[in-house]
Symmetry: C2
Subunit: 158 residues, 2 copies
């Protein structure tokens, strides 16, 4: 697998932490909305612009960055005249992150009388709720888990 | 359940979309790193400052915002002299989002020879990989799911 091991030549906010690296790569509102729209079928600059409503200069910059970071790749449209932006495997793998955000938003960011978009499976039914579990399938939460820092003592680089 | 139905009096980027609302609420690198650290036991301003390394003025602003948005709440420390920041239920529910980001980062943002922190269950084992599934427990992905927009025609407000 190709790994993303640096961002724009600048250093990671917190090099040992996979959460922090993910945020360095896509932790920006527009970047994740672009990923959301790519998952929902947006391919061209115009698609992304219509769906996000973001300013063209910001969209241009974010698309370039997502390509540089290996989340999207450029493809020529069948007509050959336009460029399309397609999710890479790493980009497709953000599906779980987007689903987790969607489910949190459904639960916490809408009043009872507000409608929202829904993500449906092939039968037209909502997905099951994502639930972190241990390796035996038992539900875990903040209280039953612990972060263990990386041991960097064997690293020559500072 | 108490819902977060507006952000700082400004309008939502994309009012119908739970992903977009979640990003409006916590879609910022520092906010999500603060949530990560709160899940890992950070409680005081100093804890958050040491762990994130963020500038004090930015940290002050982000903590205030996370309190306003119902992700953290302020509590007096037992000594009564310091203020602590504790995750609300909505904040604790972001655990799934953080785990999804962590697992993506583990898979895509580290080279094979790089070490990273790990999230372990009570037995010291890594969590199972989060996998979006349909209501029968069958794995789903980008290709087998569809976003259906909210029907806002029954809404009186524009």
């Amino acid at each position: 697998m190709k790994h993303i091991t640096s961002v724009d030549g600048s250093s990671w906010t917190d090099p040992d932490c996979p959460v922090a690296r993910t945020l360095d790569i896509v932790g920006d509102r527009w970047s994740l909305l672009i990923v959301r729209d790519a998952m929902d079928g947006a391919r061209s600059f115009t698609d992304f612009q219509h769906r996000t409503g973001v300013a063209r200069n910001i969209l241009t910059e974010r698309l370039r960055r997502l390509v540089d970071r290996g989340i999207l790749r450029r493809e020529a449209a069948p007509s050959g005249r336009r460029q399309l932006y397609v999710l890479t495997d790493a980009g497709r793998d953000l599906f779980t992150v987007i689903v987790a955000m969607r489910q949190w938003g459904e639960g916490h960011a809408f009043a009872d009388d507000e409608t929202h978009s829904v993500l449906l499976d092939a039968s037209g039914l909502p997905l099951a709720r994502l639930q972190p579990t241990d390796s035996h399938g038992v539900a875990v939460d903040v209280d039953s888990t612990t972060v263990v820092r990386a041991d960097r003592s064997d690293h020559a680089t500072p």
